[in-house]
């Protein structure tokens, strides 16, 4: 089971390195999503299933969707390319698919090997995380909600002034 950790760590590092070196933002996002999925596999192997699920749902799901929305709004990728939109460049899908395929093989191995149990040792169940979150960390949860509210107001303000300025 340790091999799963090291393989997905390598996948995450390779995908991250590809993320910061791409020219096309959409390709970079694809690689970054693969990197987040690999990190989620790492979390699962480390015995943190709750955080692994949150990583996939919130990070790779919600936050990356924000990035995709902004890229689609700006249409940056079409200005970077010359005649042909670089999104449709031949072979751009091979790298992320190969990395994701490695993760898929790991998933099949884990399912076949351990029948749904967290990898090999003791894991911290989500119920315990929830008890910690709403017990000793209650103030921090409230502060996080306050921070998110500030982020909401800030994003609304910055987005609104652009419309009013037109």
């Amino acid at each position: 089971m340790t091999a799963v950790f090291y393989i997905s760590s390598v996948v995450a590092l390779v995908a991250t390195a590809m993320t910061i070196t791409r020219r096309n933002p959409v390709h970079a996002l694809l690689y970054f999503i693969v990197s987040l999925l690999a990190v989620a596999v790492d979390f699962f192997v480390l015995g943190a299933p709750f955080v692994a699920a949150i990583e996939v749902i919130v990070y790779a799901g919600a936050i990356m969707v924000l990035f995709v929305f902004v890229i689609m709004t700006l249409n940056v990728s079409s200005e970077a390319a010359g005649e042909k939109p670089a999104i449709f460049a031949r072979g751009a899908w091979i790298g992320p698919s190969a990395l994701a395929f490695a993760l898929l093989v790991e998933l099949a191995y884990v399912i076949a090997k351990s029948a749904g149990a967290a990898a090999g040792g003791v894991s911290v169940p989500p119920a315990e995380v929830g008890r910690a979150l709403y017990g000793p960390y209650l103030i921090a949860v409230e502060l996080a909600s306050l921070l998110l509210l500030a982020g909401l107001v800030g994003a609304y303000h910055l987005g609104r002034r652009e419309v009013a300025g037109k």
């Binding site: 760590s9 590092l13 993320t19 949150i54 924000l66 990035f67 960390y137």
Partner: protein, 102 residues
């Protein structure tokens, strides 16, 4: 976890953080800089989860939860600034906005 030494997990987190830092320093595109900041926040979360798994406490995962909230707030404001910048300057190059007005 017993089977994986904590040092390896921390080295992994450090390597991820270094990649994110390199991205911030090397790229001049605001979108990629935001993406690299996300990479660095994620690496910090990995370090927390690795440390939490070492002592088998829930605190590491709780801290990752807070890092997630911080990342969400940061990226919403950052992307709003990015949109604003693109509408004003028609570029995402951070060198184009390196001067103050006045």
């Amino acid at each position: 976890m017993v089977t994986i030494p904590m040092e390896h997990g921390l080295i992994f987190a450090g390597a991820l953080f270094a990649l994110g830092l390199a991205g911030v320093l090397l790229r001049r595109n605001l979108l990629f800089m935001l993406l690299s900041i996300e990479i660095m926040l994620n690496a910090a979360g990995v370090a927390f989860v690795v440390a939490g798994a070492k002592w088998q406490e829930a605190d590491g995962q709780v801290m990752f939860f807070f890092i997630l909230a911080i990342a969400a707030a940061e990226v919403s404001v950052g992307l709003a600034i990015l949109l604003q910048m693109y509408h004003r300057f028609k570029t995402l190059d951070t060198d184009a906005v390196s001067r103050m007005r006045g």
